[in-house]
């Protein structure tokens, strides 16, 4: 079997004195989508940033297609994995297309300018998130959900193999939530991308993901297939609120009791 695109070995992550995970092992295979679930402050973002190589782990290591971040260096790492940040800051004015083209940075040599091909990739990314008509708009004038989709488009333009998504559904309305998760699901199925996504909606996780990582916030975690992870008792413990599963044919819908 080939080397998994994203592997964590014996990882220890903590923030502000709080342990997020200890002895953490994870492998996300090509074509696979992993949901990361947990309460506020459980350390989902911290873990995701560690997996992205943005912050050092206390112990253990992360490998992208078999190579550590130290060996890859920031530039090559940026071609292998992309991270959707939770917050988009726009200190200076810029158009939507410019903002998406930033995703092409890792693919350009130092003095190269974005060429026609980069423009085509950026426009295709905008089309994929339904923002084609907004290409010339100022990012300042977008709504929260539109800005989120532009950030997703920039990530798509980056074309990594590993996608790390921190609450990609934030600010999105219902149809775009489904469309965006469907998009990443398709990237995994058809192009062999590996996706790890922080979600707050258990039912969407069940619908679009293969595996689930539950972070309990006290250093405990569990990873396995999504069907096994999602049960009333476990989710109840995860969220600190009783959950109920409602059967619907072959599916189950989870809702807070």
């Amino acid at each position: 079997m080939s080397v998994p695109p994203l592997v964590a070995r014996g990882l220890a992550v903590s923030i502000g004195g709080q342990t997020v995970v200890r002895d953490f092992d994870l492998a996300v295979q090509a074509g696979e989508c992993l949901a990361i679930l947990g309460r506020n402050g459980a350390g989902k973002t911290t873990l995701l940033h560690t997996l992205a190589g943005l912050r050092p782990a206390d112990a253990g290591q992360v490998e992208l297609a078999g190579e550590t971040y130290a060996r890859l260096g920031p530039h090559r790492a940026a071609r292998g994995r992309g991270l959707l940040l939770q917050h988009q800051g726009d200190a200076f004015p810029a158009s939507v297309l410019e903002t998406v083209l930033v995703g092409r940075h890792p693919h350009l040599s130092r003095f190269a300018w974005e060429g026609a091909e980069d423009g085509r990739i950026a426009r295709a990314a905008l089309a994929a998130v339904g923002m084609s008509e907004f290409a010339e708009r100022e990012v300042h004038t977008l709504s929260g959900g539109e800005r989120q989709r532009v950030a997703i488009a920039a990530l798509l333009a980056q074309r990594p193999q590993v996608y790390l998504l921190d609450e990609p559904l934030a600010h999105l309305d219902l149809n775009h939530q489904i469309a965006i998760l469907g998009l990443f699901n398709k990237l995994a199925r058809q192009e062999g991308a590996a996706v790890a996504v922080v979600l707050h909606d258990v039912n969407l996780a069940a619908r679009f993901c293969d595996q689930a990582l539950l972070l309990f916030g006290d250093g405990r975690y569990s990873v396995s297939g999504i069907a096994e992870q999602l049960d009333e008792a476990r989710l109840g413990e995860l969220y600190g609120h009783p959950m109920r599963a409602v059967p619907d044919g072959a599916r189950r819908w989870f809702m807070p009791a």
Partner: protein, 331 residues
């Protein structure tokens, strides 16, 4: 899409503007010369007096003013990226405060002539730079807020020291000290140091230009896209500080250029640093060369401090453009 063609057109226009501003500086003054005579004088022909005025007095001063304007605009643009704040200017982190303390101390104590003042100003600027860096970076952390706060506090301390020196200074030294503080190009006789620093600084900045585009969108985003953020910020800090120190050393703390020129250029060409940085150099240089020409001619034979002129020209132009351009958001 940031196209190279548009960038080249804007840069060509600004280059023409910069050239025109220097030509004007050479032609205008108590001895008014037509452009033909200026050209002859530059080539060492024609009237001896014209040659001396153009080559010995006006050219060095115009070039020094141009270089310092370019330095301040470039430093301002870099500082705005470093602090991710369009309101940052080259002086916000206390560099000019340090230079002012050095220069005024030199004047007060009567150390040497021009050279002593310049050396002390540069020394002061470097001290402020290292002090702010040491305090902000002390425990290895490096946040924009901490850097900004440290810089502002050091600048405030320098301001107090300057006020103290002004209040104890003897009457006959006061005018020179005040002129220095407002920015004054009349002592700038050797344009080569600032010009060389400007050329070197621009080359270094352009080397990192696309990384700066990333950094201006946030440190985390820059890191995910492959920039070495820590190293980039260090480079930016020391580069912007050195550029500012070089400018302040030769013409004093001329205000306004470093804040407003990057802003104006951003309105015209957007925030792509590959275009913005060279454009800011040309526009800043042109503005200061022009302002200095006015400073020595408006109420001739009396000379005004050039810093007053930069503000008098810049403020209305800036407000006019701001009112016309709804896309700028100062947040």
């Amino acid at each position: 899409m940031p196209s190279r063609r548009r960038a080249l057109i804007v840069l060509a226009l600004l280059f023409a503007l910069a050239l025109a501003s220097v030509c004007l500086a050479l032609a205008v003054g108590s001895l008014a010369l037509p452009l033909g005579a200026v050209w002859e004088a530059l080539r060492g022909q024609g009237d001896g007096l014209a040659q001396e005025v153009v080559q010995g007095l006006r050219l060095p001063r115009a070039l020094a003013a141009f270089a310092c304007g370019g330095l301040l605009a470039l430093a301002g643009a870099l500082m705005q990226v470093l602090l991710r704040n369009p309101l940052a200017d080259p002086y916000v982190l206390g560099i000019s405060g340090g230079a002012a303390v050095g220069a005024l101390a030199a004047m007060l104590l009567g150390v040497g002539l021009n050279f002593g003042i310049e050396a002390m100003a540069f020394l002061g600027a470097l001290s402020a730079m290292l002090l702010v860096f040491g305090l902000a970076h002390g425990d290895g952390s490096w946040s924009q807020a901490r850097l900004l706060l440290t810089g502002v506090i050091v600048a405030a301390g320098c301001g107090a020291a300057v006020a103290l020196m002004l209040s104890v200074a003897p009457e006959h030294k006061l005018r020179g000290m005040l002129f220095w503080l407002m920015g004054d190009a009349s002592h700038a006789t050797d344009p080569w140091p600032p010009l060389l620093v400007l050329a070197g600084g621009l080359v270094v900045a352009l080397f990192f230009a696309r990384d700066l585009n990333l950094l201006s969108r946030g440190a985390q985003l820059a890191a995910t896209l492959g920039a070495s953020v820590g190293r980039l910020r260090l480079t930016l800090y020391f580069l912007a500080s050195l550029l500012t120190a070089a400018a302040v050393t030769s013409v004093g703390s001329v205000g306004f250029v470093g804040l407003v020129v990057p802003h104006l250029v951003r309105l015209a060409v957007g925030n792509d640093q590959r275009v913005l940085l060279p454009a800011a150099v040309l526009a800043g240089g042109a503005l200061l060369a022009l302002a200095d020409t006015l400073a020595r001619t408006v109420v001739a034979p009396q000379q005004l401090p050039v810093g007053v002129l930069t503000a008098l020209i810049g403020v209305p132009v800036f407000l006019f453009l701001l009112a016309r351009a709804p896309r700028v958001e100062v947040s």
